[in-house]
Symmetry: D3
Subunit: 134 residues, 6 copies
């Protein structure tokens, strides 16, 4: 199994609802340094997993839509806790959709699975890992 | 699959028995920077894999029991080489036991598997990865 | 010249005023991973620059006062842009005050200068570096 | 599952053929920081996955054969794009062959699988992961 | 003293002349991960050392001119060894010139000194540090 | 000012005397990841600060003398606390002596100052920085 990983970041404000979150119930924020790992069984005719330039652009586009915002005010997240693991899934779903739409090029449809990791500090991270369902 | 990872460290003295270890047969020591990755299929009602505060405390408790010691004198390790991979398993077993006991909260019983990685330097690490058996 | 550095982090929401900040004019947030480097000419009688446990606690205390907040609502920052470089200075001033008050122990008064670095992502950081004025 | 990972690096020149590579079609180069992760189900009699000294030497030997070269002139890569993912496979195959030849010691034959990751910058890496076939 | 640091990278081929370089006399290459640290005594009216967006663009522009090339064929480096320390100086000079030209905005002329660090692997780096002379 | 930095590591056992050290009064140990930064005003005729191969060997030699030992039993450290800052000075003094003896080559005598940093974990480090006195 081959994989290629690209890294970028985004910065948001949010609050989390529930006693379990302690002081994080207050409005605060985070930088998420994001690794997106694209996996496939074989390389394409160019000897690559994915066009790394397009992969970086796709990641950039997804993070730009999320970044520099207060996630508490995003209608699509209403009633949900925007935890690191939840956001890892959001980024995963949006990149997977971009692959299925062909935004990363026709060859990128050979990508079988994806792992998205969000590093929220030097001591904590969360990830979502799964297949690119058709 | 979702995961959450927390990081902490501990510092010990030990020696390793066997020609294969070369100079590490002498009494020496190590800092282990430890990553504990908790995995589960779905998020709980709060949108989390695990209460990250409790996860960090559980890791801290396990590492405090091991740290600032000469492992050659620990009765429970008698006759065993406390290699990095062996210690990864020890930390794994103790965190898994804490989850099963409910120390990380009732929801944490949904954690299906765990990976414990010990970084012993900038060029070497070891890990143990397995299911949280009931 | 000797130095000792300890690392911790805090997470905040804020917005920045001025066209120069582009999308960061919107309410967003950041994780700051903070390095505090304490410097002195000679070691004390214990062979240390500073009691590293107390240094870590002092840093923790300063960051706890700042963290899990919306800095736009902090009266002490009213009318100021809480940029990374500005916050590096805030952390510097508060640790320096703790040293002068003796919170880090009487020996810590031998610390001559301090550098506080705030890493806001994998590609950007800011610092303030200066003497511990009496 | 246990694993041990060792890190080293190599530096090469090369060019990549195909419009998809943009400016990387020109002769340029890269540093690859390489992680080799050796995995096995159980520890051997010494409590190890692998003799870490021999593992580091085996990695060093493989990287020395590749490093400080213009890969465009290597006969064995003729007609192939020496992308990061392709090179991850090359390093994988050569370490796997060394294990099968017994270069890492007779016990190392218990290693079941291997992951080789090449970090080409602070924002990009590629890997190959697979079983050590007999 | 305040500072702001931005990070980017470039990838080149080159060879080094002189017995001291050993195998690096052969054509090979490197990834350089570059940190540019801008320093000034006081913050400007916006509370910043420098417009970080413009700083990142200026660094990007300088590295784009150097990257994806064989430095042995660059007329401006003829007869010089493009060592990591030499290239740190080249990047320094070009960013300093950009500041003096006003490319980073009029306020950036308040930047008093600059440090450029090139990381060539996980175990080696080089830097040039100096004032922004007028 | 130019600089070149090389990284290596060593692993030791020791204990520290004094209430200030808390649990570190017990025999324990540490991995120290060491950065040695060599500085000089101008490059030599080869375009380098120092022969990086020889610098890495000199660092390796100094760390080999310290590593895989119980520092409590080293006669030269009798009555001293082998704190991280103390050890940074020891490594500094030994590399400085090697430079003065000419072990890093005659050109290395142009190195004016040196900084030695010991990273003892992901959250703590210590350094000694000073001139290479003749």
């Amino acid at each position: 199994m081959y994989s290629v990983t690209v890294r970028d970041h985004f910065m948001i404000a949010h609050s989390l609802s529930g006693e379990v979150f302690g002081p994080a119930e207050r409005l605060h924020g985070a930088t998420y340094v994001v690794d997106a790992e694209f996996r496939r069984a074989d390389l394409d005719e160019h000897g690559i997993v994915i066009d790394i330039g397009r992969a970086a652009e796709a990641l950039r586009a997804v993070l730009s839509d999320l970044g520099y915002r207060n996630l508490d005010e995003e209608p699509s997240f209403k009633g949900r806790n925007t935890t690191t693991e939840f956001l890892a899934r959001v980024v995963f779903d949006r990149i997977a959709a971009a692959i299925r739409r062909g935004d990363l090029g026709p060859d990128a449809r050979g990508v079988g699975s994806l792992r998205v990791t969000l590093h929220e500090s030097h001591v904590a991270s969360a990830a979502f890992d799964g297949p690119i369902a058709d």
